[in-house]
């Protein structure tokens, strides 16, 4: 069973369900690690129609465990797209009006070149032979896809968490190509505590004997236990203490009394185990290492002489930064420091803090205030860009 799934993933990694853009040896991706990735490929999904002026494109950037299937049924899980509450015909990000693009990031495992892809130089799976990927590498690759569509300027770049990091990187690296930017529940750098949690996750993966030094696909096994533990630990950081208490409290799982054993007595244990197991079915363990590393390495201020405001000098992009009160992974203060830097750079910036107890994952949920902010921000940006109302 595990081997079948590994095979299915390998297929999705090289020959995904999504459309793929392949870049030959003549068009390498320059990586921050100082090497060229070539050849490489980007898997992506699009929704809606690009207008004649190519002015209505919205790039959606996915988070650590996300993928390009933002508004369609996910081919691996069979579940709805991860932001279908927000994106679709007549929705807040209206695909009758906007041309929405979502790519699988470089280093991912659903069709863009990543550790589960076949290394053309060896004919074997990359594994850890893939250079470490950064947020800027992901964005550079996305820019090559945007070039392919002939789009000079994206109407908006939108994303939460790691997706928000890509939004910031886009606005900083390609200021003229981003008309509006919506970084949500994110940071301009990964905090020490966040790096710490990621390290716990990586160590869990690498401690699994089935990880095999990263060469598990060739061995026909998967470090399922390690990856599940990594996901369980991470998942706690996506929620809030209040929400956990409200949802699970100390409730017992399908039993009347404590068992005096180490079975999942509590509902929260059972819930986390379920989160771990379902994640393993859809995500590549090495890709998890690469994604977490990319986030850890992100420090936009450090790339600009230690001054975050320098990352946005003379920007004309309109920004809307959003945070959530109960998010302790990317707390309001992290988001506010982005706002202060944008202020100092004289940028047009809105900042909304949403009152919710749903923690970091609130950005993926049906949050009316979030939707109100996104709707208002995009509406005024569309007016400023002269995009026709529907």
């Amino acid at each position: 069973m595990a081997a079948t799934r590994a095979k299915a993933h390998a297929n999705e990694a090289d020959e995904p369900t999504s459309p793929v853009l392949r870049f030959g040896v003549d068009r390498p991706l320059k990586l921050d690690a100082g090497v060229l990735l070539s050849p490489f490929q980007i898997a992506y999904q699009t929704y809606g129609t690009l207008n004649a002026a190519k002015s209505n494109a919205v790039l959606v950037c996915h988070a650590l465990s996300g993928d390009q299937h933002v508004a369609n049924t996910n081919p691996v899980t069979g579940k709805p797209g991860w932001w279908e509450v927000l994106i679709g015909p007549g929705k807040i990000i209206d695909t009758d009006r906007f041309f929405v693009i979502c790519t699988n990031v470089i280093g991912g495992c659903l069709g863009s070149t990543g550790p589960a892809s076949t290394n053309p130089a060896t004919g074997k799976v990359y594994g850890l032979d893939l250079p470490v990927i950064t947020i800027r590498d992901m964005v550079r690759a996305q820019a090559m896809l945007i070039d392919h569509f002939g789009i000079d300027q994206l109407f908006s770049v939108i994303g939460g968490s790691m997706g928000g990091m890509q939004v910031l990187e886009w606005a900083s690296s390609y200021p003229g190509r981003v008309f509006s930017a919506l970084p949500i529940a994110t940071g301009a750098r990964h905090s020490s505590q966040n790096i710490a949690f990621h390290e716990v996750g990586r160590q869990a993966v690498m401690a699994d004997p089935d990880w095999r030094g990263g060469k598990y696909i060739e061995a026909g096994v998967r470090p399922a236990k390690g990856l599940a533990v990594a996901r369980m630990a991470a998942h706690i950081t996506y929620l809030s203490e209040t929400a956990l208490q409200r949802k699970f409290g100390r409730n017992l799982q399908d039993r009347e009394a404590l068992t005096f054993g180490f079975d999942a007595d509590f509902q929260i244990e059972s819930y986390l185990r379920h989160q771990g197991i379902t994640f393993v079915e859809r995500f590549d363990a090495n890709s998890y290492l690469y994604m977490t590393r990319a986030m850890d390495y992100f420090d936009l201020a450090a790339d600009h002489g230690g001054k975050l405001a320098e990352a946005f000098t003379k920007t004309t992009t309109r920004f809307c930064v959003v945070s959530f009160t109960s998010d302790w992974l990317f707390p309001t203060e992290e988001n506010r420091s982005i706002v202060h830097a944008l202020n100092a750079a004289g940028a047009s910036v809105s900042f909304v803090e949403i009152d919710t107890d749903r923690g970091h994952d609130a950005f993926l949920l049906d949050e009316p205030e979030l939707f109100g902010a996104i709707r208002g921000f995009l509406r005024s940006a569309a007016r400023a860009k002269g995009l026709a109302e529907l």
Binding site: A344, S348, V349, G372, A373, G376
Partner: protein, 204 residues
């Protein structure tokens, strides 16, 4: 930082001071009423700062560029002369350090516009004189212990603060209880006695 129940008859007066197409920062922009007015009538490039999250969310949903922030602590993050006009409308009296806030306004903006309720108004004076209690009026409805307005001043007080920080009063308008402008020819004491609201255009 909009003040509960305070009338915003000063908004049009503020708008009259603003040159079309200016870069404007509205500190304490509330639900964005003034910014919207300025964008519509004066085609300004407008930004706002508002302390209440509800106000900010309303503004952003209206399509305004507004951030959640506190005039006392967040103005330091704005660069010098980043705006043509910085507006502090009905907010000065609710700041912890009005002098520091005023100096920041003059640093950030080429010009600052400040409007505030005048505590020297005859009604306020009369209330204190006759009742011996802190005034609670239609326009200032909060009792002393739960008012957000912790630094009331009179028009005369404000003028002397302007002197202290080296701000030049370029224009000033006082509005009486009916929202009518008080004649420019009137002396300061008259303004201070009959003006219920004051709006100042300052430059340093």
């Amino acid at each position: 930082m909009s003040v509960n129940g305070a009338p915003r008859i000063d908004l049009q007066v503020v708008a009259d001071f603003i040159a079309p197409g200016s870069r404007v920062l509205d500190v304490g922009c509330g639900d964005g009423e003034l910014l919207e007015l300025l964008q519509r009538d004066k085609a300004v490039d407008g930004r706002g700062v508002e302390i209440s999250q509800r106000g900010v969310n309303e503004c952003v949903a209206r399509g305004l560029s507004v951030i959640q922030g506190d005039a006392d602590s967040d103005l330091v993050y704005y660069p010098d002369k980043g705006f043509d006009f910085v507006i502090l409308s009905q907010t000065l009296q609710a700041t912890r350090n009005p002098r520091a806030v005023l100096e920041d306004l003059l640093r950030i903006g080429d010009r600052a516009i400040v409007s505030f309720p005048n505590f020297g108004h005859w009604g306020v004076r009369l209330s204190l004189l006759l009742r011996g209690r802190m005034p609670v009026t239609k326009d200032l409805p909060d009792t002393w212990y739960d008012t957000p307005n912790i630094h009331f001043c009179t028009i005369r007080d404000f003028v002397s603060l302007c002197d202290e920080v080296g701000a030049k009063v370029e224009q000033a308008t006082a509005l009486d209880g009916a929202g009518q402008k008080i004649g420019l020819s009137m002396p300061w004491w008259f303004w201070n006695f009959f003006g219920q609201q004051a709006v100042f255009l300052l430059k340093r």
